[in-house]
């Protein structure tokens, strides 16, 4: 079975993010970039399916700058078979979904696994839009995926408010990965050595003939308000008094 997995390049969740003074974006100097953690979970899940279903192929897709090669190589080092990098700047979620839909036309995968969202802009939109564009069933926020023995259908357990919901649908389909789906493996050292020789195809977005005009623009970014220093009070009476008069919480 052929599985397409998305791999987005995002800032390491551990790095501290600074917003540019003019509010047009974040400062990208000296930032460490990683594979979007939810996408990494998606890659792991695809590799586990590949290990179970003989003859499977895992194809990675990233859309963005040329440097996203690094993240694709990481996925290849984990064990994916080949990668496609669509070179494009600043697409909005619909643009990304359209590019992916076009790639799906060409690649004809049996399953698409994506992170439920990218941790940079947290849109949580592309998986749903892609399923809609393709007219495929979708199972979002998956915490467990089971394929039928003939791989013609999938059963997806989703983490929803207040409990778990299990959906079954025929494939091809789109599944988005939640945090508890699995724990991604480390890229093995022999895997890292082999990754260098695997195919990584670059396609300029213009070659795909897809309308990617953004419908969403970012007008302004600002950091959350910084926390003010605490205050040390001398007695319980003073505390109660301040909670009432200053903080106005009691």
């Amino acid at each position: 079975m052929k599985i397409l997995v998305t791999v987005k390049r995002v800032p390491d969740p551990e790095t501290s993010i600074k917003v540019k003074p003019d509010g047009t974006g974040i400062v990208t100097d000296n930032i460490k970039w990683v594979v979007n953690p939810f996408d990494e979970i998606g890659v792991e899940e695809a590799l586990r399916i590949k290990e179970k279903v003989a003859g499977s192929e895992v194809v990675l897709v990233s859309i963005g700058d040329k440097v996203a090669q690094e993240q694709l190589r990481t996925g290849l080092a984990m064990g994916a078979d080949r990668a496609i990098l669509v070179l494009a700047d600043d697409l909005d979620p619909l643009g990304v979904a359209r590019v992916l839909a076009k790639l799906v036309d060409d690649e004809k995968p049996d399953l698409i696994i994506m992170g439920k969202q990218a941790i940079d802009d947290d849109s949580n939109a592309v998986g749903q839009m892609l399923a809609e564009l393709l007219g495929w069933p979708q199972g979002t926020f998956a915490s467990q995926i089971e394929l039928s023995d003939d791989q013609k259908s999938a059963s997806v357990t989703r983490e929803v408010d207040g409990g778990l919901e299990t959906l079954s649908f025929p494939l091809p389909g789109v599944i988005t990965a939640d945090l508890r789906l699995n724990e991604p493996r480390y890229a093995s050292l022999p895997g890292i050595m082999k990754a260098r020789k695997k195919e990584l195809k670059e396609i300029p977005v213009a070659d795909l003939g897809v309308d990617v005009t953004p419908r969403v623009t970012i007008t302004k970014m600002e950091p959350p308000p910084s926390r003010e220093a605490g205050k040390i009070v001398a007695s319980v009476e003073e505390l109660v008094n301040l909670l009432h008069t200053e903080a106005k919480v009691i």
Partner: protein, 408 residues
């Protein structure tokens, strides 16, 4: 090689992630608890496929050796191929990354799969390699390499008292070894001693034997208490009339050049120390720069004081020098050569002193916090000291460098 390759950076990032998730949170237990480091080393081996890679390399090498044996020649080392730089870096980068937190783990690992397995690989027969070296290379088993004795360290060959006496087809072994890394837990022990054939002690042949844990007459002590490197268990070995068959004599002949093989081990061990030093220096520098930015004294960050700047600048110089030494080592490994003993000594001497100096300066820069265990530089400083002592003391490196200069 003038900079890390893309593959190197990927290995570094993957290792760094492993260290941050598997080692950093368990540092307290590894350094101050009673758990030996072997579980975490094994987890690293399986996570990164290092066990399978070691097995594959081993099998290729044995196949080459068997082929050569048939043709009556000696197996030739492979020529340099594309990707060898990446592979060579693969050996050193994990050492660097682990040493940012835990030089002890590197010592325990390096002695087992480096020193002990290498001794068997360089001098053993194919049968001995398959029986004892392979499980060490995959870290299925833990190895120890024992040359130092209570009465002889720097003068390991000259002062050695451990003996082997011929006994029928086999030997009887006696002696005490001390400061032996992994000694308390080792499954496989390479034991170096002298053949007591009645001749003068200085004329006796050096012989190397492989012992298994639990053999009659072999005692392995509990871990010794020490200044640092707590995550690397160190112990004593006591051999009291241990009976061995000839199949435990490395090379299965008394005429293999034991001393030359041991010197090759020294050379490799010294190369590993530079990578360890780089890890310690990188971490001390990083922590110190952060601290210099944030710690305020006399109304400004201490990084604005010139005396603190001097410390930071010296740390950076040491880091650059060590990195360049590593680049040269990677080049040399990749081209299938090895450093000659004098150069290996020079690198080891510089690396050990740089790590010690940087770690001490880091403690100083942290002030009282530097002396407290909570701030990691305290541990790195205690750990760094060992680099000037084991694998040949600074003094011994100096005399080896000078001897090679004066020899011509």
């Amino acid at each position: 090689m003038i900079e890390w390759t893309e593959q190197h950076v990927m290995i570094r990032d993957a290792m760094r992630k492993f260290v941050e998730t598997e080692i950093k949170p368990n540092l307290e237990e590894l350094e101050h608890g009673d758990s030996p480091p072997y579980d975490v080393i094994r987890k690293m081996f399986t996570s990164f496929g290092m066990d399978e890679a070691a097995r594959a390399t081993f099998e290729k090498r044995i196949a080459r050796e068997r082929a050569a044996e048939k043709n009556g020649g000696v197996a030739e080392n492979g020529k340099r191929r594309e990707g060898d730089i990446d592979t060579a870096g693969m050996q050193l980068i994990p050492i660097i990354e682990l040493c940012r937190y835990c030089p002890g783990i590197v010592t325990a690992m390096g002695v087992s799969m480096g020193l002990t397995a290498s001794a068997i690989m360089s001098k053993g027969t194919i049968r001995q390699k398959e029986r004892w070296a392979l499980p060490l290379l995959t870290f299925e088993k833990i190895g120890a390499w024992a040359i130092t004795e209570p009465g002889s360290g720097s003068d390991a060959f000259g002062g050695m008292k451990s003996t082997a006496r011929r006994n029928g087809d086999g030997y009887v072994l006696n002696g005490n070894k001390t400061f032996i890394t992994n000694g308390p837990y080792a499954d496989t022990i390479v034991f170096i001693c002298k053949l007591d054939d009645g001749s003068e002690a200085k004329d006796r042949k050096m012989l190397t034997f492989v012992l298994d844990r639990g053999m009659a007459g072999l005692n392995q002590s509990a871990p010794m208490r020490k200044m640092g490197l707590h995550s690397s268990p160190t112990g004593e070995l006591f051999l009291d009339d241990v009976q061995v068959e000839k199949e435990r004599l490395l090379g299965e002949t008394e005429d293999s050049p034991a001393r030359a093989g041991t010197k090759a081990s020294f050379s490799m061990e010294r190369a590993g120390v530079a990578a360890m030093a780089l890890g310690i220096v990188e971490q001390c520098r990083e922590l110190s720069v952060d601290y210099a930015r944030t710690r305020v004294a006399f109304g400004k960050p201490i990084g604005e004081f010139q005396l603190i700047q001097l410390k930071l600048a010296k740390m950076e110089v040491a880091r650059m020098n060590l990195q360049n030494i590593i680049f040269r080592q990677i080049e040399i490994i990749a081209s299938g050569k090895s450093l000659d003993l004098a150069e290996a000594s020079a690198c080891k001497l510089y690396a050990a002193q740089a790590a010690m100096e940087v770690a001490l300066e880091a403690v100083q820069l942290f002030g009282g916090n530097g002396y407290m265990a909570e701030f990691q530089v305290e541990q790195l400083c205690r750990d760094a000291k060992v680099l000037q002592i084991y694998a040949g003391t600074d003094e011994i490196q100096i005399s080896q460098i000078a001897r090679s200069l004066l020899a011509h």
